[in-house]
């Protein structure tokens, strides 16, 4: 079963061909990171215009790299929620046109749910990886999402918690700005933290937000503000004329690295402690399934590995290439839907918010 997947929910324009839901024949991602880097994270042009220009070349690349003719496909899958409506429309319109002209089934996929399928993906020709035993805990950590799910055998995902302010990936991007580590913040703060000591001299303990005693929600804005104060000091003066005593340029490279390590420590602890709380509260689970761009973070991967070991859960982390937004996860998850005969018609809508 060969499925072409399209993904245009945010910054990435992506297309992929996946066989039988797991074997990735091609995975093409045109990222706007190069553009963002130049403008320190600001989208320099309309995201949807970039998608429009890139999508068909990306689709052609994906088919060519997979060595697949369009007529060989069994279905066309597309991320249709959640995301920017203007961006999603580009992918969904293209998917509808392809499905209609090729007379193939169309499958609209929830982008966040697809992230939880990414750990199953392998390069075509490689041995498949063992899937999770259900029920399982699902964790999506990315720039736009930080959510915890209960996953069931039938593919359904029930949300247990979510961020009430910043997503963890967003906190990383903002930490990248505060620490002058560069954009995107995730990999750059991770890199800076490698040489740092979270308990270095005069490094304050940054807050690990747990919210109310039984909450499975996440909060990262307090951590962001604490990092701001650690970098720039507490504002002095009155009212509008209050100013910060220092800037990032006043910090030594060692201190920047130590603060990056302290931030990374607090951010990953916050995630892992919530997982611990979810285990205590919920029904017994057998596996921990992780997805999203921040699952590429070295510290988080280390902590999740230790956590899974401690609680005797099988851990399902995506390969690095499938952590970030990609279309292979869309095509892969769509295979489960196609197998259940669950396809969409040409009225498939785009939705700004997730259904799960």
């Amino acid at each position: 079963m060969l499925i072409l997947g399209l993904e245009t929910s945010c910054d990435e324009t992506a297309a992929a061909v996946v066989q039988d839901g797991v074997a990735v024949c091609s995975n093409v991602v045109a990222t706007q990171h190069d553009l963002h880097q130049r403008y320190a994270g600001v989208v320099p042009e309309i995201a949807s215009r970039a998608h429009l220009e890139r999508l068909m070349p990306v689709v052609q690349d994906a088919l060519a790299q997979a060595g697949v003719a369009a007529g060989d496909l069994d279905a066309i899958a597309v991320g249709n929620r959640p995301g920017l409506v203007g961006s999603l429309i580009v992918g969904v319109s293209a998917a509808k046109a392809l499905a209609w002209s090729l007379d193939k089934p169309l499958i609209g996929v929830d982008h966040v749910r697809a992230h939880l399928h990414a750990a199953q993906l392998v390069d075509a020709g490689d041995a498949p990886v063992a899937g999770p035993t259900y029920p399982a805990l699902g964790l999506v950590v990315s720039g736009g999402h930080t959510s915890l799910y209960q996953l069931s055998e039938d593919g359904s995902a029930t949300r247990l918690g979510r961020t009430i302010d910043d997503a963890v990936g967003e906190a990383y991007d903002k930490a990248g700005v505060l620490l002058n580590a560069g954009y995107p913040g995730g990999p750059n703060v991770d890199k800076l933290a490698q040489t740092g000591d979270p308990h270095g001299p005069d490094i304050p303990a940054l807050p690990i937000s747990m919210l109310s005693a039984d909450s499975l929600d996440f909060s990262f804005s307090g951590l962001k503000t604490a990092l701001l104060y650690a970098v720039r000091g507490h504002p002095e003066g009155r009212g509008k004329s209050a100013t910060f005593p220092r800037s990032i340029d006043d910090l030594s490279d060692t201190r920047r690295a130590d603060l990056a390590a302290a931030f990374q420590h607090a951010a990953s602890q916050a995630v892992v402690r919530k997982l611990g709380r979810a285990l205590k509260q919920g029904p017994q689970v057998h596996a921990l399934v992780v997805g999203g761009g921040v699952s590429a973070n070295s510290e988080l991967r280390k902590r999740l590995t230790a956590f899974a070991q401690e609680h005797q859960l099988s851990l399902h982390l995506p390969a690095m290439a499938y952590c970030v937004d990609n279309a292979a996860m869309i095509a892969g998850y769509a295979a489960l839907r196609l197998a259940q005969g669950d396809t969409d018609d040409l009225h498939l809508p785009v939705l700004a918010t997730s259904r799960t």
């Binding site: 945010c10 963002h36 403008y39 994270g41 600001v42 989208v43 320099p44 042009e45 309309i46 995201a47 949807s48 215009r49 959640p82 995301g83 920017l84 409506v85 203007g86 961006s87 990315s142 720039g143 736009g144 979510r162 961020t163 009430i164 302010d165 910043d166 997503a167 990936g169 967003e170 991007d173 903002k174 700005v177 505060l178 929600d217 804005s221 962001k224 503000t225 701001l228 507490h234 504002p235 002095e236 003066g237 009155r238 009212g239 509008k240 209050a242 910060f244 700004a352 918010t353």
Partner: protein, 171 residues
């Protein structure tokens, strides 16, 4: 109509900033636009959480739209539509300018169907319409925040009322 001179006050905690947003939210109607500016960690999203509560929406739905640029919070179907309306929560942190708003589907027509609140609004100020309540948030000493109100268009005439509502300590 000339804008009123800006007016400034201080909130002592994140909760106080949220409460401020809630009092403002209770005054707002579809079509109203609130513009927020201030550096990282100044409390913009905290303020929006209060605004949502004041509009009768679930403040738990509010999260930062920095990455995805726009969130829409809708009333529960069970709620009386008269007591709550959709809140469009925009974040222009990653938006280059007002031209880019078109790609979000945010135009005057959509704006009329709910209350809009825009973080990092200075970047897209010219797309927010004539009637805007603007709040600048700044870090102060001891975890306080300084808020500065300026109102334009029809809100300019009501700036005194707005200020009284926003700075009210306890009901």
């Amino acid at each position: 109509m000339n804008p009123q001179p800006p007016t400034t006050w201080v909130t002592v905690s994140a909760q106080a900033t949220t409460a401020c947003g809630q009092r403002l939210g209770a005054l707002l109607q579809p079509g109203d636009v609130v513009a927020l500016d201030g550096p990282l960690g100044a409390g913009k999203t905290q303020f929006v959480r209060g605004l949502a509560a004041g509009l009768g929406l679930d403040p738990g739905d509010v999260s930062s739209p920095t990455f995805v640029m726009m969130h829409e919070y809708e009333p529960d179907e069970a709620d009386d539509a008269k007591t709550s309306c959709t809140l469009f929560h925009l974040d222009a942190y990653r938006i280059g300018g007002s031209d880019d708003l078109a790609s979000l589907g945010f135009d005057a027509e959509l704006r009329a169907t709910g209350v809009s609140v825009v973080e990092w609004s200075a970047r897209i100020d010219d797309a927010l319409g004539p009637d805007v309540i603007h709040l600048a948030l700044a870090h102060g000493p001891h975890d306080t925040r300084t808020l500065t109100l300026s109102a334009r268009g029809r809100w300019a005439a009501q700036a005194d009322t707005l200020l009284t509502t926003l700075t009210e300590t306890r009901p």
